[in-house]
């Protein structure tokens, strides 16, 4: 037994001497992924075990107790059950929007950037027009005109107002990659344009696209929460924003019912933080210089302190 522990201790030693430089950036990724995975699992699994989120009862505005772990709303609905269903709804909106925005930005950004010419001019003009569309006011206008605001409609409205920025990033990246020698080499080898885009260029855009996807996810969830909070959100599906809307309507703040509005707010903040952490580590993968930046800052601060003392 002792020999085994000694061996494992030795292995730990050698790993420590070689690994720490590599591990440091991974901590942000691990923490970010941990948060996001936990919230996603909560949204997927918890709704099966909680009470009916819409079931009304007589004990309204009760604080956390054994019967209701996160208390009840004014009409006696279970907050935990609502939170579980709202998590599912918010994530669903976020993922649908992020996928739509990714497809739109990839189509307009990559295709325009690679093919160039008048098509690029038209696509760029369209992208710029959409880019300067004020997102929230547009959503309010569309949201208030449409009677039946389903999940897909809200997701669609959020998607068409949020793809333009990443389309511009993708276009400029494609322009840069298009003129690299390996793309010329692929043309000389006789590859077809669609294959050059999908096999030679697209893989090199993956880091940029994944960071765009994560960013779209954050904006979509925040945007939906904002829309729901002002009462223009999805009808019939619970989200974190709709929970906040009803909490505001039920005067949770003035009645001191913190258990009603803190959980959804907390979830929005934590999920945003987790996704941002993932985005930072993707950035560090794209730009290796960022990996050592925190350590460098610390080194400079230490040197300054020593110089001051």
């Amino acid at each position: 037994m002792t020999t085994i522990t000694e061996e494992s201790a030795q292995i730990d030693e050698t790993e420590k001497t070689t690994a720490p430089r590599r591990r440091r950036p991974a901590t942000t990724l691990v923490v970010g992924l941990g948060i996001v995975v936990a919230i996603v699992l909560f949204g997927l699994v918890a709704p099966f075990f909680t009470q009916d989120p819409l079931a009304v009862s007589n004990d309204g505005m009760q604080g956390p107790s054994a019967a209701h772990l996160l208390g009840t709303t004014q009409t006696g609905q279970d907050v935990l059950a609502q939170l579980a269903h709202a998590t599912r709804g918010s994530l669903m909106v976020g993922v649908i929007v992020a996928v739509l925005a990714l497809l739109l930005s990839a189509f307009f950004g990559i295709l325009g950037g690679y093919l160039g010419g008048w098509l690029d001019e038209v696509f760029s003009l369209f992208t710029n027009v959409v880019l300067i569309l004020p997102g929230l006011p547009l959503m309010i206008v569309i949201g208030s005109y449409v009677e039946q605001r389903g999940l897909l409609l809200i997701a669609f409205v959020l998607a068409i107002t949020s793809w333009a920025a990443s389309a511009r990033v993708l276009r400029s990246q494609t322009l840069s990659i298009r003129s690299r020698d390996y793309v010329h080499a692929a043309r000389i080898a006789g590859e077809k344009p669609w294959r050059i885009i999908s096999v030679e260029i697209l893989p090199n855009l993956l880091p940029v696209m994944s960071s765009g996807f994560v960013f779209a996810l954050i904006t979509a969830i925040l945007g939906e929460a904002g829309l729901s909070f002002i009462g223009l959100g999805v009808v019939g599906t619970q989200t974190w924003g709709s929970m906040l809307f009803y909490a505001q309507n039920g005067q949770a703040l003035t009645l001191g019912g913190w258990w009603w509005f803190v959980p959804p707010g907390f979830m929005i903040a934590v999920l945003g933080g987790g996704l941002s952490l993932i985005n930072f580590s993707i950035d560090a993968i794209i730009n290796p210089r960022l990996r050592n930046a925190p350590a460098n800052v610390r080194r400079v601060q230490k040197a300054e302190k020593e110089a001051g003392a």
Binding site: R180, D181, Y182, H184, A185, A186, R187, I188, A189, G190, E191, V199, E200, P203, N204
Partner: protein, 286 residues
């Protein structure tokens, strides 16, 4: 075998800065012929239009005027005819760090042209790729095929790029400064490899360089370019030994010669090393 003839090739770029347009004449009325088994060296400074000629030959750019003939027939510009042209004419790029896709394995870079040009079927392609690797003196095994470009040295990458250019079985090869980005220690190896492959395949080769010494050593003819124009064109030794143009003489003089170093000369004299005549008098320069 195949001869590629360029006649009065010109390329003018339209430059736009704001609302003003200006013209850049990158290449002006350049004519030459690439014939089997012979190497034409294209020499000139940066910006003299050497790489533009490579792009025109590879149909990455369209010439503004002039004609390109492959075996006397106008070259194909699109579709099936363009594929046939690519089958005959291939290129090795200057920078081996940029010419291989960082995302793909070495195998991908060799298998794609083999398959695209019908040189192998999906089943025989790996074997054919290994044969190519062997021909450029690289380890021909599965482990090497699976490696990514960033795991290779500059010289190895350039050998992969050469293997890729040979994959379609071309008869004309354009080498755009194939060794200028490589370590001095591996340059000769890559150049010797190109020379050997040229002999084996009876390739017509365009060797673009700014190094007159290697141009003389590896090519039959030398063409000197200055600001888009060819100012001197002739057999390699003739251009080097009796240059007609002032610019060519300046290019020759620009190459550092160790023998003009006074310390070197003094040391050589002390040891009694015999000196060529034209150097023996340089002591007077003091």
């Amino acid at each position: 075998m195949t001869t590629l003839t360029a006649t009065d090739l010109s390329k003018t770029y339209l430059l736009r800065s704001g609302l003003r347009f200006s013209r850049l004449q990158a290449v002006q009325e350049v004519s030459f012929e690439l014939s089997p088994g012979r190497t034409l060296a294209l020499v000139g400074q940066s910006g003299s239009g050497k790489s533009t000629i490579a792009k025109l030959l590879m149909q990455l750019e369209r010439p503004t005027s002039g004609t390109l003939l492959l075996d006397g027939a106008p070259i194909g510009r699109r579709g099936r005819a363009l594929a046939d042209y690519r089958h005959e004419v291939q290129m090795v790029f200057q920078d081996p760090f940029a010419s291989l896709n960082p995302y793909h394995s070495i195998g991908h870079h060799l298998l794609r042209p083999l398959l695209l040009h019908g040189r192998a079927t999906a089943r025989t392609a790996p074997g054919a790729a290994k044969e190519l690797l062997e021909r450029v003196n690289l380890p021909a095994d599965d482990a090497f095929m699976e490696r990514r470009p960033h795991e290779l040295s500059g010289g190895q990458r350039q050998r992969v790029a050469i293997a890729r250019a040979l994959a379609p079985g071309p008869s004309v090869l354009v080498a755009d400064e194939p060794v200028s980005m490589l370590d001095v220690s591996v340059r000769l190896g890559v150049l010797n490899l190109l020379a050997r492959l040229q002999q084996e395949e009876d390739l017509a080769m365009l060797y673009i360089t700014h190094d007159l010494a290697t141009a003389r050593h590896f090519s039959d003819e030398i063409m000197v370019m200055l600001r888009g124009r060819v100012i001197e064109h002739g057999p390699a030794d003739e251009v080097i030994l009796s240059p007609r143009e002032e610019f060519t003489r300046r290019l020759l003089a620009a190459a550092p010669e160790p023998a003009t170093n006074q310390r070197f000369l003094a040391e050589a004299q002390r040891r009694g090393v015999p000196m060529p005549d034209h150097l023996a008098h340089q002591e007077d320069l003091g």
